[in-house]
């Protein structure tokens, strides 16, 4: 299996190499959104603070969002939608390899490239701008790494499962965009969850949205303190990961059954 993943990742890496410029663009998009949000909150915060966030806090928060979003993002719904509609799923199903592995490998290859760029950018900016520096805390960073892996896995299954909806509807990508629109608020991309109306932030915490991004970000910036809070956050991530794995398995078996009935 390792051999197959090595080959898949190598392939994906090489293809990405061909699309260097495209990847730079997507990277810029991943940076611009938090940058604009930071710009606005910077203006609002002024010399004071907003719900406990001063300018420096916002700066750290949004840089963390940049990095962690890049590490956890998944877009397989678009791939799957295309595979199913263009008949590209056929030859993949005829191989003795589950198509999901290819999607995972591609995901990893892309992230290895882009996340390392963002990390370097963050380090460089931190040299010139003290506000974005994080205290050196390897223990916290290790726990954050765990949370990031959990979040990335969950977002992959969300994306893949949504893509599988293409077996039944032509609007699978629209559903994914709806989810992305909602997660703009609930996952903490536009603002830290603490700045949302409490009821809304509550929903984000109860559902999987906080687990997607906000929790790992808060872990990294040190906003989440105490074993209790950390464990509850990680626990939430594990639960929702389980839920989405289950959703994926149901969608896959039903979807393949439908595919075998009508083909593609």
């Amino acid at each position: 299996m390792i051999r197959r993943y090595a080959a898949l990742i190598r392939n994906a890496w090489l293809v990405d190499l061909q699309y260097r410029a495209s990847i730079v663009l997507w990277l810029l998009w991943g940076v611009t959104e938090p940058a604009i949000a930071l710009g606005i909150w910077w203006a609002i915060a002024g010399d004071g603070s907003v719900a406990g966030y001063a300018r420096a806090d916002f700066a750290r928060y949004f840089f963390a969002v940049m990095l962690i979003n890049q590490l956890t993002i998944a877009w397989d719904s678009w791939y799957l939608d295309r595979w199913i509609r263009d008949g590209e799923l056929n030859f993949r199903l005829a191989r003795p390899l589950h198509p999901a592995h290819e999607a995972v490998a591609e995901n990893l290859a892309y992230k290895a490239r882009t996340a390392s760029v963002i990390l370097v950018v963050w380090l460089v900016v931190a040299v010139a701008w003290p506000a974005v520096r994080l205290p050196f805390a390897p223990g916290r960073w290790a726990i954050t790494a765990v949370a990031v892996v959990l979040a990335a896995a969950m977002r992959f299954f969300i994306s893949f499962t949504t893509g599988l909806l293409a077996f039944w509807t032509t609007r699978a990508t629209a559903i994914m965009e709806l989810h992305a629109g909602v997660s703009l608020f609930l996952a903490g991309r536009i603002a830290p969850l603490a700045l949302l109306p409490p009821a809304v932030a509550g929903i984000a915490g109860v559902l999987w949205f906080r687990s997607m991004l906000a929790f790992p970000v808060d872990l990294l910036t040190g906003t989440v303190q105490g074993t209790d809070a950390i464990l509850r956050g990680l626990g939430g991530q594990i639960v929702w990961l389980g839920v989405w794995i289950l959703a994926y398995r149901v969608a896959w078996s039903r979807g393949i059954r439908k595919y075998g009935a009508v083909g593609g």
């Binding site: 080959a7 030859f91 005829a94 191989r95 003795p96 009508v262």
Partner: protein, 334 residues
Amino acid sequence: MSSIVTAERLSKTFQVKVRDPGLRGALRALFRPHYRDVLAVRDVTFGIDPGEIVAFLGPNGAGKTTTLKMLAGLLYPTGGRVEVAGFIPWTGGPAFKRRIALVLGNRQQLVWDLPPEETFLLNRAIYDVGDGDYRERLAELVALLELGDVLQKPVRQLSLGERMKCELVASLLHRPPLLFLDEPTLGLDVTAQDAIRRFLIEYRDRHGATVLLTSHYMQDVTALASRVLMINRGRLLYDGALEALVARIARTKRIELVLGGGDGNRVTAEALAAFGEVKSFHFPNAVLEVRREDAPAMSARLLAALPVADLSIEDPPIEEVIRLAFARGGEEDE
């Protein structure tokens, strides 16, 4: 020798949503959808022995690709049963998939932006081919297909023929006993078509692989297949040796003429009728139908007697051959 592929009363029915035009129809389709049955494959029965090269012949929409997909495990039958290499394809899983190679019409297995070699390496890993076996098999396939130095060029820069050859290499690295090919020569130039056909025969002779291909080209059948299964509208019309089919069905040939200017203007339909049955005549083009064995002689006479600018001898169109076969009451077996 027992069969490697067995199909017994194999059937596939699709349910297609029926939608009336207009807004009311659209609303009705949303809330109370109506379905119509499309019988793509009906009661098809055949058995294939290891090492055979078999062609599924039929016009577009006949059910060839659907049958092939059922053999490969991509679709499940709605009736009858099918067994391939000891597996039921639909539930065969990875063990079954290692025994087959499938090359479908759109041929998208090769990674577009990279050299074909990269896809080969990927397949080597996916099918768990040992390094020694990989090198040996790659060398053999490249030699047989005369691929030379295209392996380093990105796939998008290759010609259609080169791409098809590389598709074949990628599919055969794990040396499966079964090859399923959907229209393998479609869209290729004559040289490439010829090369592919010769390769398939050579490959089968060396490794005893069983080859099933679908096609609507007569030439694929004449050059390749010892046995042809004719399918039309989901039904198996003919299953047997090629010579018998040709002798029985395609008894005529078509002579397609292009008459020259000047004197050509004065050629009449009656004049043409002396040489054979006039199927169509719109100056300067004419199509005559003659008996198969008479075609060469008749062509010579035409060239001598009339101002012919261009002449070619063609098989009758496949639809006509099938229509004839169907009209004969759908015979099966030799």
